[in-house]
């Protein structure tokens, strides 16, 4: 056995989950290194929740495997004890007050920090006596955020945790997540479609579209690789021939194309060819990659689903 260069929190191979004829997760193969914040990004209904439920053994794969800390997660108490899955619409027992959640959760998590939980309750302007049933949508989301952060579970999954949270509360979440993660590194998966808001928190991006993993890369690599190239249609066409183009926009005789991979030499070549090279934000890149490719692989996909 050769030692792995870095330990993996997750390893999925050909992971597939079908509901009837719909493949919610379709042949997903990826790894997630330990102690990173990974963004699971994609549109609503892209398969994010199903993928996370497969990872935590809540869903049974149709085919393929997923390994969590080296073992299959389904019904495996030894690895599931290291997980905390905060679901977007987590229900709590009808008669629970906030204090009951905070009293029931610690027995599940070896690293639970009660002081941190209490501090977060204050910061989200909640009081332990409040009944969960009477809370607003956003306040209930805050409970999930509090449990997820205070659990310090070695794998903490937040599935769209911000429903109904206002901008201030979301910022509190992001700030506390970063600060606590810096002090207590752990593997965090943050599923979201608010890419702009979280992109700077992420180390790694996993982008899923119609059940398929379309991007699996370090975020900084994505930022430095994609670029838009614009100029006269003829010059741009000449430049992009043979390159992976995520998006193209035509205006009169001008063409602007988002090219997925552009290193420094490519950029210099484009400038020499009289083209303008512009930046692409992570959000733009993902929107373009999941809103319809112009590469052959997507054409095939669209034809297949047409």
């Amino acid at each position: 056995m050769t030692p792995a260069p870095e330990s993996l929190a997750l390893e999925a191979r050909g992971l597939t989950k079908r509901f009837g004829s719909l493949a919610a997760v379709d042949d997903a193969t990826f790894t997630t290194p330990q102690n990173t914040i990974t963004g699971l990004l994609g549109r609503n209904g892209a398969g994010k929740t199903t993928l996370m439920r497969l990872i935590t053994g809540q869903e049974f794969p149709t085919s393929g495997t997923v390994r969590l800390f080296g073992a299959k997660p389904v019904e495996n108490a030894a690895v599931l004890q290291h997980t905390c899955f905060i679901s977007e619409a987590q229900r709590y027992p009808d008669e629970f007050r906030i204090k009951h959640v905070l009293a029931g959760a610690p027995r599940f998590f070896a690293n639970w920090d009660a002081d941190f939980a209490a501090q977060l309750v204050d910061e989200f302007r909640l009081t332990p006596k409040q009944r969960i049933k009477k809370l607003s949508r956003g306040q209930r989301s805050a409970i999930g955020v509090i449990v997820g952060l205070a659990s310090r579970a070695p794998l903490t999954i937040f599935d769209e945790p911000y429903l109904g949270l206002d901008a201030v509360a979301r910022q509190i979440f992001y700030d506390r997540l970063l600060a606590d993660y810096s002090e207590h590194p752990r593997t965090v998966i943050l599923s979201t479609h608010l890419i702009d808001e979280v992109s700077q928190l992420l180390e790694h991006a996993l982008v899923i579209d119609q059940g398929r993993i379309v991007i699996d890369a370090p975020v900084e690599e994505l930022r430095s690789s994609a670029a838009t190239v614009s100029g006269t249609t003829e010059a741009v066409e000449r430049f992009i021939t043979g390159r992976e183009v995520a998006h193209r926009e035509q205006l009169g005789g001008l063409l602007s194309a988002t090219v997925a991979a552009m290193d420094d030499a490519d950029r210099a070549a484009a400038r020499t060819a009289g083209l303008e090279v512009g930046p692409v934000s992570l959000q733009q890149l993902i929107v373009r990659r999941t809103g319809g490719f112009t590469t052959p692989s997507t054409t095939t996909y669209e034809e297949a689903t047409a």
Binding site: Q34, L80, Q81, I86, E95, F96, G104, R107, H184
Partner: protein, 250 residues
Amino acid sequence: MTAFTADSLPTTARPLGRRISTIMLLQLTNPMTLIGWPLMILGFIYVLNLAIYSLISTATEGATAVGVNGGVGFIWVYTLVMAVQSVNQTFPLALGFGATRRDYLLGTGALFTLLSAGYAALIATLAMAERAVDYWGIGLRFFDSSPDFSWFELFLGTFLLLLLFASVGGATAAVYVRWKASGMYVFWAGLVVLLVAVGFLLTWTESWGAVGEFFATAGVLGTLAWSLVISAIAASAAYLILRKATPTNT
């Protein structure tokens, strides 16, 4: 800085006893749900009956009621409701917190067995107290459903009955958790069809007499002992159904 590395993560699960108690305590986190409310409601029904019986006793100038009151049956039905609610409401939460289905089921089974035993002991003891005060002299036989029974017989009978209601409740909730509303329709329709079929079969084969005889020879406790079979089937069904259930929050 404490970093979790693959090496520093414990690779063995916590002891089974701890996992089970964690599930039990999650459902008891708010003790009102499974202990506080049922006791308060039972107490309220008792006080209400006491008031009515004294009124009747005064109005009829000392005539005492005969036979069992039946109000204690509330706790049987309520046990079913508690089992349904508890499973339905805590299963998705426990799984989100990293529990396995198996541990959840073992913990819930242990919890309801203990609760049934606790309620049975309480009711048997209160029945003894009723006997001691001669049903307040107004014939209020609320807890003492069988004056011939000893404390232990009352305890055992009540325990078996509560266990039956809890396991049927658990199985019903399991069907709902796994298949939602469509599962419920099929479940209740199936149950009705089954009961009608059994009734029809008994009528057709003219076996009602034999059934009556069976209950007569088995006696109350014997019949209740037979209920263990149904409890065991219901509990196993709950286990098998939830083993493949995927929790949803809708």
